[in-house]
């Protein structure tokens, strides 16, 4: 049964039910690579929210004017334009721009955004598309933040934002592996396990379908 779409429902679903990272599992590459520092995650999250929301709205606005055969090139042009806007804006902040490096231009090919454009915004009302972009973007950012807080805090022993130490564990011998790539996979796997465990516990016998 398809539930009726409401603005709030479209917004809230991005956090858990269709969380891009934990449920749809798209856009993992940048998330795994960037979640070593909380600070970069905030900017990456903002960039993704902006691009996702804007491209969702534009694509939803012009969805009836786009012939099917050329929809992908048009999506790419729209998405790439917004990414370039973000890229140019961030260039005025060199410290952050250098840290985010290649991941900002790579938002163009981030599957989350194309997936939402193709799978959602191309046949949704503008208000729904807007809420969807915002919700999915925030869902992405939340997961990034959870991962990066965990990795930075336990990988380096402190969280540094804008050159000031926010939290410090006061220890120098931390498991550096958390900051490295294996740490990204381990952290992500633990989050996934946690979500699965939570969902299984919530409805123990609701699932009667084939296992």
């Amino acid at each position: 049964m398809e539930k009726k779409r409401t603005n709030f429902g479209e917004f809230i679903k991005g956090f858990i039910r269709v969380n891009p990272l934990l449920v749809l599992m798209v856009g993992l590459c940048s998330a795994l690579a960037i979640s070593t520092r909380v600070e970069s995650c905030i900017f990456m999250g903002l960039a993704v929210i902006f691009v996702l929301t804007c491209s969702n709205v534009i694509i939803s606005l012009i969805r009836k004017l786009i012939p099917d055969q050329i929809r992908i090139p048009i999506y790419i042009v729209v998405i790439a334009s917004f990414v370039t806007i973000v890229d140019l804006t961030l260039k005025t902040m060199p410290a952050i721009y250098e840290r985010l490096g290649v991941w900002i231009p790579l938002i163009v090919v981030n599957c989350i955004i194309l997936a939402r454009a193709e799978g959602y915004a191309s046949d949704a009302r503008v208000s729904h598309a807007f809420m969807d972009g915002l919700g999915i973007g925030l869902g992405y950012t939340c997961v990034l933040l959870i991962m990066s807080v965990f990795r930075e805090l336990f990988g380096t022993g402190e969280i540094v934002m804008f050159n000031t130490t926010i939290v410090s564990l006061g220890s120098k011998s931390m498991p550096t592996i958390l900051i490295l790539f294996p740490g990204a996979f381990i952290t992500f796997a633990m989050l996934l396990a946690l979500l699965q465990w939570h969902q299984q516990r919530k409805k123990p016998e609701a699932k009667e379908g084939p296992e």
């Binding site: 012009i62 042009v77 334009s81 806007i85 140019l88 260039k91 005025t92 060199p94």
Partner: protein, 184 residues
Amino acid sequence: MMKSLLNLGSRLMLVCLVAAVGLGFTYSLVEENIAEQELKKRAEAATVVLEPIGATPQESPELTAELQGDFPDLISVFEGMDEDGEVIGYAFVLKSKGYNFITMAVGVDAEGKVTGIEVITNEETPGLGAPAAENPDFLGQFTGKGPEPLVLKQDIDGVTSATYTSRGITNGVNMALEMWESLQ
């Protein structure tokens, strides 16, 4: 067939046109700020390479314009001043071709000796060329050499597995030395 092609093409063009206008507008807003940031980066690098002779860099648009005619890869020239305002060296910010482009600052003192090199950005292959372009042992070899053009493998030991990068940086330094020569 022809009609549908035109239809598709014109719609795509319309979208691209709107996107281009939007981007142009954004660029015009941030252009100045970006240029400022780049100047800051250049000035920082020039300060680093002129530090060994204790000179303060000052960007010289006239010299830059003059030299750019012969050296199109030059980005900017800084004059290194001592306390009395005498020019005792130059810092050349230029791009040189390794495997890809390397932007670097080369400091040259009054005798035409290299005072230091600072790689500002390099687009070399990560893991191969990029570490070589930042290798202090390699870059340190240039200090004190000149004003004759340097030859790789004779004056300078290249970095194994990064031939193009080593060549690119050596060429960049030679370009700076040539420019210094033409300023005399």
